[in-house]
Symmetry: C2
Subunit: 189 residues, 2 copies
DNA sequence: GTCTATATTTGGATAGAC
DNA sequence: GTCTATCCAAATATAGAC
């Protein structure tokens, strides 16, 4: 039935509302049920446990990110694509701190994503790696450097200027710095 | 009495043991009391609340970091000092994920550091800013770029290679990349 | 200063009626 | 499929005896 899927989606939406307002760790089944007009035990008709809800949120967040990435069409300027992609990522992180915490930090004791959900996260990662390789940076070291810089911009933006653009507007500069550095040091021991 | 201070320190040590083993959010007064051989209510003789314990841990963590920084004596090569300082920071973060979470992320609902504890964190920040200025990078933009890169290396090291050196060993390269970039783009609009 | 006892709240999860 | 009732566990915090 589509009805069931609609209810599951409604529950997830309410869960996002709660974690955005109260913090990721503050999610409780009672609050969640109240918000969708149910009693708490009824939630178990839709999700097997609280962690199953976190897991569905994890997968959904990664699918959102994947959707934005795939919507970006590649141009004939892969460096420009890198800038756009990096900006997309930092914006995605900055617009929802709770989601960022769920997707990229491991702060909920006892929760870890299921293999199926984690597969979506891997897809995102591989897509990013592909874009980077297409720009000429296929080595593992390049990808490690790249992820560190994008992660750092995101972390600082969220932690020290939520809602602002203080680190977001450094994205282009960082990408250029990276590209120049990697180009200059190409193929050296 | 020094006895009281010794007991407070013992409690803090036990709290660090717990969060390192179980996660920052998994700290409970019952477990903590058991570990120091008390009943839970007795802890209130030493700390007013659970958040007061988090607060003391926050201050202690920052004092540890500050101590390591001040132990680094400045040389006549400020760029080299930057490398050493950045490595120190990433190592400090990587060696204790729970401490990193407490000091640099805001994941405990309802906890925020007291002004006194936060003052220590500011001291750390100012010290880093001073080192960076001494190397010739005094602009706010430079500091923002710098913190993003160091934070990114730390975050990736903790999240994706705990106990390893995969991002730690990129520190020197990142510092050089930063220095070359900032030097090249110096004094431009 | 430490304890026992307990208040109070909150939470995840299950049983079983309807 | 939703509810009520409840279980069970865990948690912070307080009161008051010793």
């Amino acid at each position: 039935m589509a009805r069931r899927e609609a209810t599951k989606a409604e529950i997830l939406d309410a869960a996002w509302d709660i974690v955005r307002a109260e913090g990721l760790a503050a999610l409780s089944l009672r609050d969640l049920a109240k918000r969708v007009g149910m009693q708490a035990p009824s939630l178990y008709q839709y999700y097997d446990s609280k962690n199953a809800i976190y897991d569905a949120m994890f997968a959904e967040g990664n699918r959102q990110l994947l959707a934005r990435y795939t919507k970006l069409r590649e141009t004939d300027d892969p460096i420009r694509d890198l800038r756009v992609g990096a900006r997309l990522f930092v914006e995605f992180c900055a617009e929802d701190a709770a989601r960022y915490q769920l997707l990229f930090q491991r702060t909920i004791p006892g929760f870890e994503p299921s293999p199926e959900s984690y597969a979506v996260a891997l897809e995102v990662f591989d897509l990013g790696r592909g874009r980077l390789a297409r720009a000429g940076f296929a080595e593992k070291r390049a990808m490690d450097l790249w992820t560190a810089m994008v992660a750092g911009l995101s972390a600082q933006q969220i932690a020290n200027d939520p809602g602002g653009t203080r680190w977001l507007r450094l994205v282009d500069e960082v990408v250029d710095m990276f590209v120049q550095h990697m180009t200059r040091n190409r193929r050296r021991p």
